[in-house]
Structures are given as C-alpha cells and as structure tokens.
Symmetry: C2
DNA sequence: CTGAAAGCGCTTACAG
DNA sequence: CTGAAAGCGCTTACAG
C-alpha cells in the first residue's frame, strides 16, 4: 500500500508518447497559448502571479518540453551554437587532447546559458555556410582552423551569424577570437633556455607564414635573443609535423642535422614529447645532453618521463571567454568585440637543465 | 577585364542575407513548392528530368539551403542524433582520450549519412528526456554512463527514440549497445601474465558490481586462473579511481600492501600508466620488479616509458557499428537489434616480463 | 508527372 | 494582464 501510494505521488515526470504542446497546456489551464508562452519564457511581467503558478504546475505535471525547432522557426533565435572543427573528407575529426579539453569546457559554458551545441566536422569551406544556414545557428565557434581558412570566410556565409575563432590571428573581422599570448609564450621559453646557458636552440614546429599562432611563438622566441643582443640563425628552424612521430623523427636525427644544438623549443607538447623520445632512442639524454621545452601543458606532459618543461595555456579560461564573447555579441546583436589574449606561464619540470660543458 | 569576368562567372556561391526559401525557388522555376521539395529530397521518380535539371540549377545559383528546423517540424524526422555524455553539474564534460576518439568517429559516421550531431552533457537523469524531446532527436548515443544509469532510463523518455549505449551491459531493452569483448580482454591479460610465470597478480580498477564492463573484465581475468586450475585470492583486488593519480597512488604503496604481487592488471591504460609511474617513484622497476598490463591501447600508451603492454579495443569499429545499429533502427522504425560485441587483442610492449626469480 | 490545402508548434506584432 | 490572427519554412496526404 505504502509503496503504491508513494508511487502515485512520485515526483517523477511522466513523458507521454505523443508530444504535449503549448496548446494542450493552454487548454488545460484555461488561458491562451500566448500566456503559456510568456510563462514558459519567463516574461513574468506580463502575467498575473496566480496564472503563472497554475501554468507552471500544469507544465510540470504534463512534462511539457517546448519544441526547439518550432521555436527556432518562429523566433529569430535558435539558441543553437555550432562548433565547427576541420575534418578531412575520409577522416574523422581528430580531436587533439588540447581540442578535446576546450570542447568539454565549451559545452558546459553553453549548457549553463541555455544554449545547445551542434558539433560539425568541416571537410570543405562551403560547408561552413551550409552548416550555419541549415540549422539557423545563432553563432559558431571555429576550432582548429588555419588563419588562411578564417581569412577566406566570406561575408555571405557569416553575414548574420556571430562567429568566433579560437587561436586565430586572422584579420577577418567576421570572426573575432580568443587566443593565448603566443608571443609571450615563445619569449618565455627562449628566456628560460637562455637563462640556463643555452645558445644554440632548435625551433621545431609546423611550417608557418607571417601570421598565425606558430609565427607569434617564433617572433616571441626570436625577441628574447634580440633583447639580449644574442645572434639567431634561421638554419636552426626545423619544420616537422605536429605529432609524436614528427617529433621522434627530429629527435633521432637532431645531433646529426643540428650538431651545435643543446636545446629544442617545440611548438606543441605532443611534438616535444616526441623529440624527447627520439633523442632517448638515439642515445641522447634529456635533459643531460639536450633540453626540451614544449607548449600547451597537456595532462600528458606531467606524466611522461622526463616530465616536460612547457608553456601553460589557460584552457578553461579560453573556453569561458570564447563563449562569453560570442553569446554577448549574439544577445546584443552586434559584432563581437576585439580579440582577447590570455596570459601564459612557464612550467618548469624535468626536461630542461644547463647545457653540458664542452 | 579578365579578372572581372572570371569573378562574374565564379562558381563561388552567393549566400544572401535573407534566407532563400522553397517558395523562392518554386517561383523562379515556375513550379510548385512540392516539386522543388521532391527534387531537393531526391524523390526523382516523381519529377520529369527537365524539371529536375532546372530546379537543381536554380537551387545551386541561389545557394538554397533547406531549413532543418522547418523540416523537422513538418516531417517525422529531425535527422539529429544526440550524443549524451555524463557531466557533473559544475564540471565540464571530461572527455577521456578514449571518449574523445569515439566522439570523433561518431561525428564522421553521422555526417556521412546526412545526420547532424547534438552534443549534450547530462548532469541529471531527467535531462535525458528533455534533451530527446526538445530537439525532437531521432536517436541518441549514450557514451560513458554506468549500467545503473542505463537501467534507470524510463520508457517515457525513450519511448519513441532509438537509443544506443556504448560499453553497456545493461539489460534495459530501451537501449541496445556496442561494447568490446571485455571478458576476453580480461582473460587475455591474465593469460599473458600467467604465461610469463606470474602467480600473484593485482586486479586494479574502480569498484564494480555484478554487471558492467569492469565486472566482465574481472570475470574473464578470473576465468584464466580457473582454466589452469590456479587459485585466486580476492584480496588481490585493488579498488582505485580510474585516473593517473589513482594508479600512481596504488603503484607507490603496492609493495607494502601487496608484498607477494609481481604484476598488476589495470582496467584502463591511464590507470596502468599511473601504476607504472608510482612504482618507478617508489624505486620499483617496471617490468623488472613488477609487470603492468593495461586496457584500451591509447595513443599515449605507445609513448610512455616503458611502453605499455595492453588490451587493444577497436575504437573506429565501435563507433561505426554504433551508428550503423542506431541509424538502421531509426530508418526501419524498429527497435535496435541485439547488442554487438567487438573483438579485442593483446598488444605486447615493454611493461611486462617474467617475474624476478626469488 | 504536378499542385493546392492543411498543418507541424511555436512567436511576433497588434489589439483590447 | 490577456488573447485572436498571421506566419516562420517545410512536408504529408490527397486530388488531379
């Protein structure tokens, strides 16, 4: 008896098999659909307290959930944000640990503000416009695109949709951005190695043009040499894929290709870890023979042997600011504000030491 | 002149600021909306070839993109699939490397079949029903939930929506599933260690009940002992968090708490890597003093020192089969088929060796 | 092969 | 404080 009764009065909602609509609630409450709509959307100024209470009770009883597509169709806003990530046609999205961490933070920030997230791999530039229009997205976050790709975004696709690019230095005003202070990061890495006494440092990263994240890191890196009146030789630039294998290859041939080098600054942790592994495999000690500095501060970087000295980015901060910029622009219906740059800092661990006396 | 002309004839689509609708295309083509709809949706049997050609040309010229919310509202189907992931209220989704890899594969499989992906963190069970109804999802993939949580899914929420749980052994028929052969994995790990000569092996994992992934791995693990007529002592079960820190803690205290143990089987690579790190920190050699076997075969596992011996899962296969099961059920409008179990295999690397002679 | 009508479930102006 | 009307952009039966 008792259990039957508590079941009867259970607060667990019943989800009916046919959809409960605004009209159902309105009929049951004896008011118009408009009034129910106002209650559901929190326009409380327009409805009497008693009506609010009654409607809310019925909404809860019936387990009413508004239809997002109907709302999206009728209103100006879909409350849907696209997370657009590059994806080669045949390949899956490759979520780097860095991308995965940002993604998780973005989902949370959006959910807290009542938005939903559409995750979409982009294999071809045209798909950006299609993705934005198809679901009437209110905005989009571009994660992992090259600046050249951001540059190429055209006004049509982006016209009415707020866009924000993570880690971009593109001058395209259609998309604002958040990024870490990559210049400072490069400088801090170089200063750390110079302070330890290194003078021949390999700069290892993907090929870069004169804009973009890697260029900024390189510019900051060189600035540290210039600030101290130290020479820099562009032949110490090593162009490699930003993968563990790319780093391992460089590490293995480092002492042959760069015989004077006593240290490596790699533009990503995964690359730096590969370099260290390649060095170890070729019989060089890290940091005894060669010091290695990375960039990102992945969880992984505190786990590998030796633990990696690196430049730490504020990933939760990056995601929080990205969503804040984007949603503020959407809700105020204006172009997003100026790009925001987040601080970085050096994390000293076990992969750096003074150069061996020769 | 030339450049102006090539611009004129550029194949780049113009995306207009106001939405192009079915009606616009119909007017311009001099046909009804229905006909345009049939062309766009590929119901070619119903339209003459000349009309198809003309409509398609105008669609391309005007850059028409159908409104997914209008279609979703009018039709029975939204072509939207939810990817539901647990998320503590204040926390972000924590995408483990394993989860992140599956996520990327799922997005790709969905995109190839013309579906879109809504990513949603679930902080409270009620949110599952809300998520399904709000966007009229055609189906949902549950990723990372406990079997207890899957069990609790009620018919209301799931009634009309196909659901599929990854890595679940729940008996709840509302959601079918894909999973690796966890029993076999546990058995292979144990057989490998027994073959090497180990007899006292710690089973390290999160607490587990009598269903679920961890239970299966444990059951397979024990089976290997039973098959050989070897004794097993439940006191060799170590309950730890499935994190690097959890493993490191166990590794550090292993020789004190489990003085007879010469090997550890951890139910996840990240845990196994932690165990190895903890052992190293406490002065024990891996695999010299203690062997370690993991489960997952993360990218990371081939990078750490020593490289981890582990049980490899087929992650792309898991994602592909998950989506195939789910979409087949949706398109045929029937309950998903029986759960599918994927093969696993042992990957021998450097973290296992025969026990030291004592 | 083609089309006019009704309706999916909401919101946006308006009018009271 | 409350409501009737029109419409968002499609698709689903139907009828020709």
């Amino acid at each position: 008896m008792l259990s039957a009764q508590s079941c009867q009065w259970s607060r667990r909602r019943e989800f009916p098999l046919v959809r409960v609509t605004l009209r159902d609630i309105a009929n049951e409450a004896g008011v118009s659909m408009m009034t129910v709509s106002n209650v559901v959307n929190g326009n409380r100024a327009r409805v009497s307290p008693e009506t609010i209470e009654r409607v809310q009770r019925i909404v809860a009883e019936r387990g009413y959930v508004p239809s997002a597509s109907a709302r999206s169709l009728a209103a100006r806003s879909s409350r849907l944000i696209g997370l657009l990530v590059p994806a080669a046609d045949e390949d899956s999205l490759t979520l780097s640990p860095h991308t995965g961490a940002i993604l998780g933070q973005i989902e949370r920030a959006l959910r807290k503000r009542g938005y939903h997230l559409l995750l979409r791999g982009i294999a071809h530039p045209d798909e950006v416009g299609e993705a934005l229009q198809s679901w009437s997205l209110d905005g989009a976050v571009l994660l992992g695109f090259l600046d050249e790709e951001i540059d190429a975004l055209d006004a049509g696709a982006a016209g009415k949709v707020a866009m924000l690019a993570v880690d971009s230095y593109s001058a395209n005003r259609l998309a604002t951005g958040v990024r870490s202070d990559d210049f400072l990061g490069g400088r801090l890495a170089a200063e750390h190695l110079l302070d330890l006494g290194h003078r021949h440092v390999v700069f290892a990263g993907p090929s870069f043009s004169d804009v973009g994240v890697v260029h900024q890191r390189f510019a900051g890196f060189r600035q540290a040499f210039a600030d101290r009146g130290l020479p820099w030789d562009d032949r110490l630039i090593a162009t490699v894929n930003t993968t563990h294998a790319g780093g391992a290859g460089l590490g293995a041939r480092l002492r042959r290709d760069f015989p004077t080098a006593t240290a490596v600054f790699a533009t990503a942790d995964i690359l730096a870890i590969g370099v260290a592994a390649g060095l170890a495999a070729s019989g060089a000690a890290v940091p005894g023979d060669v010091s290695v500095v990375g960039f990102d501060d992945l969880d992984l970087s505190a786990i590998v042997t030796p633990k990696l000295t690196t430049i730490a980015q504020d990933i939760p901060g990056k995601a929080a600011i990205a969503i804040d910029l984007l949603l503020t622009a959407i809700e105020k219906r204006e172009r997003p504000a100026e790009p925001v740059t987040l601080a970085v800092h050096l994390v000293e661990r076990d992969s750096t030491a003074p150069p061996r006396r020769s």
